[in-house]
């Protein structure tokens, strides 16, 4: 076990930011930590990197108790972790290269090895051309890439990323997602927090959904989607649907509802019933203009589990 948090409680005055949080991470895994604003994702990361103390609970990293104190055990553990903070954590008046070098040095990488790793990181992150420039002049995406680069110069065994793609263009986002996937493939264990389902689905093998300081679902992307979704919906577009059509569809096993609105016939059935072929068969005497089936997504699961959309003001669809 690379990381285990057990029953961790963290309070800020009256507010319980982490409420008996339990979280485990196996070696080589990429875990997505999803949760709406204020769920406690950042707090969980602050606690497990020793930036804030937990009120109660146990935190183990690499099999050892981690106190976050200034002792040699903690230092040895810190060396094996890379953190990408939620906000940009760079020195604006230093160049990209100097930023990378500095954080490398803090983790004990020096000399020729440092130069080699910094060059490699600049290359992979697509920042070689701007290595001498200060991040002040960077685009949002470039800053984010550098922000990640600074956390990996020392080749951490555990990489923790706190919403690393906030506010950037799709290209940079892809770049970052590929980078994280690649690093995970090479054996780095990854903890990835995000508001974005697509990112987590793309990068992570396992997902934890957090709300109000606790984990409310834990499993693979498919498992969570299945467990949380009770209904699936299929919409047929039919030319002149007769009243007999919904009647016959309703007879199919697993179908809960069938509603007709002009040309649209919307059929709701229980999750995993696999009714699409049977419905099409029943509807075959009619002219079918279109079929749309909505697979259960993590987003739906999230909505079903928390009653909240993942992002403030975001569409829950």
């Amino acid at each position: 076990m690379i990381l285990s948090m057990t029953d961790v409680i963290k309070r800020y005055r009256a507010l319980t930011a982490l409420d008996h949080l339990t979280l485990n991470l196996q070696k080589g895994e990429a875990l997505g930590l999803l949760g709406p604003n204020g769920a406690g994702k950042t707090t969980a990361i602050r606690v497990l990197t020793g930036l804030t103390g937990a009120d109660t609970g146990e935190i183990k990293l690499f099999g050892k108790e981690f106190s976050g104190k200034n002792n040699s055990d903690s230092m040895a553990i810190r060396k094996r972790i890379g953190l990408v903070p939620q906000d940009l954590a760079l020195y604006e008046t230093l160049s990209a290269r100097e930023n990378l070098e500095y954080f490398g040095k803090l983790y004990g990488v020096h000399g020729a090895e440092l130069k080699k790793r910094v060059d490699a990181a600049l290359e992979v992150l697509g920042l070689t051309d701007v290595a001498k420039k200060s991040p002040k002049k960077f685009s949002g995406g470039m800053k984010r890439r550098l922000n990640i680069g600074c956390a990996v110069i020392h080749k951490p065994e555990l990489l923790i990323l706190d919403e690393p793609t906030v506010g950037i263009d799709p290209q940079s986002r892809n770049h970052i997602l590929d980078f994280v996937s690649e690093i995970n493939k090479q054996g780095t264990t990854v903890l990835y927090t995000s508001h974005y389902m697509e990112e987590v689905e793309r990068v992570c093998s396992r997902v934890c959904i957090m709300d109000a300081g606790r984990v409310i679902a834990d499993g693979s992307v498919e498992e969570i989607a299945k467990s949380a979704i009770f209904e699936e919906s299929i919409t047929l577009e039919v030319k002149d649907p007769a009243p007999s059509l919904p009647e016959s569809i309703k007879k199919i096993q697993g179908v809960v509802r069938c509603e007709v609105k002009n040309r649209a016939v919307t059929i709701t059935s229980t999750a995993g019933s696999g009714n699409l072929p049977r419905i099409i068969e029943v509807a075959s005497p009619f002219v079918i203009l279109g079929v749309s089936a909505k697979r259960a997504t993590l987003e739906d699961a999230f909505l079903a589990l928390t009653g909240k959309s993942l992002r403030d003001g975001g569409e829950a669809s």
Partner: protein, 366 residues
């Protein structure tokens, strides 16, 4: 050691890299000295244009002290009203003169007016120097020396210390360069706070703090960077005033530089203690600024404030100590007192660092 150097060099680079802030760092103090120095001189105290300072004196008629005070070297700095003891004391109590010089039974005392601030410092330094020469003279006389030669010695001694001033028209800048630079250096603790804020309290700080660098090494590196940056900033201002504006800093430049260094260190140590007590760097910056202004004003010399009996205590404010040493060095002040004051400044620094260490340790183990 390697990580200390990494922190130190990176933090120093971080401070100096930003061109606009470097410009501000260097140009601002110089502007401050020029503009404020001249403005204050004009508005607040015309005596800074080096009109001789009003002083009252009750001395033995025809004695050594009278001869000394009547010499050109003394009257260049002081306009002396020779009078009775009672009158001399009255004049200083009413504030009409900055100091009263009283000689009684060969014992010379200087009474300082309550609100005299920095103005009193020059007469005091001059009398200090007289006392030293006086001691030398007494020894010479008891050993059968010639008085007239010794009288010349008094003048000679004084003109050595005051000679560089004679080469140019003195102006307010000579005074304000000293007091302003001391004040500016006292504020450089803010450089340190800025560095601590960035490297320990921001999101960048989160990244630094999760790295395997120990807190003492981190704090030490940042502190060293802030000290070097601040001192170099002070040196640039110092040499600028000296060579471009011809400000007179006295003969003993190493002593002045050491004093300025002590002031820089004091400010850094003070900043850390304030930070440890305040918890947030922004709060610390506010508190620090307020306290430095207080220290600056109680030290006097900028505006005249009547502090009453507290005046004696305020002599021990770090600015006051630094002023005493630097003016003393320029005007032949009492060496023992200058050395004591310098030692006291370094003791302040040491005490502050010890407090910072204890507070920091408590913070770490909490």
């Amino acid at each position: 050691m390697k990580s200390f150097l990494a922190v130190f060099t990176t933090a120093t680079k971080y401070c100096w890299r930003d061109l606009t802030s470097v410009a501000v760092l260097i140009a601002f103090p110089i502007m401050l000295i020029l503009v404020l120095g001249n403005a204050l001189a004009g508005f607040i105290s015309p005596t800074y244009d080096f009109e001789p300072l009003p002083v009252s004196a009750s001395v033995e008629a025809g004695g050594n002290l009278e001869t000394f005070l009547q010499s050109g070297e003394s009257s260049q700095f002081m306009e002396i009203n020779f009078t009775t003891r009672e009158n001399a004391e009255e004049l200083v109590q009413s504030g009409e003169v900055y100091v009263a010089i009283i000689e009684e039974d060969g014992e010379v005392t200087v009474i300082r007016a309550r609100n005299s601030g920095m103005n009193a410092m020059i007469p005091i330094s001059i009398i200090d120097s007289y006392k030293q020469i006086g001691a030398a003279m007494t020894i010479a006389m008891t050993s059968g020396g010639d008085f007239t030669e010794l009288a010349g010695l008094i003048g000679a001694e004084l003109s050595v210390t005051a000679a560089p001033l004679g080469n140019r028209v003195q102006s307010a800048i000579d005074y304000y360069a000293v007091t302003m630079l001391v004040m500016i250096l006292l504020f450089t603790g803010l450089n340190g706070l800025e560095l601590f804020k960035k490297s320990m309290f921001s999101e960048t700080g989160a990244r630094v703090l999760t790295s395997p660098v120990s807190k003492p090494v981190l704090v030490g590196g940042l502190l060293a960077a802030a000290t070097v940056t601040s001192y170099v900033q002070g040196l640039i201002t110092f040499f600028f005033t000296m060579f471009v504006y011809g400000v007179y800093w006295g003969e003993n430049i190493p002593l002045v530089l050491l004093t300025l260094f002590a002031v820089t260190l004091f400010s850094q140590a003070f900043a850390i203690v304030v930070l440890l007590l305040c918890k947030s760097p922004n709060a610390a910056m506010g508190v620090m600024q307020a306290l430095i202004w207080v220290m600056t004003f109680v030290a006097g010399g900028y505006v005249k404030i009547d502090f009453g009996a507290a005046q004696e205590i305020f002599r021990y404010s770090p600015n006051s100590l630094a002023h005493t040493i630097i003016f003393g060095s320029a005007f032949g002040g009492n060496e023992t007192r200058m050395m004591n004051d310098l030692a006291l400044l370094f003791i302040y620094v040491a005490v502050l660092f010890v407090i910072a260490f204890i507070l920091g340790k408590r913070r770490l183990t909490k």
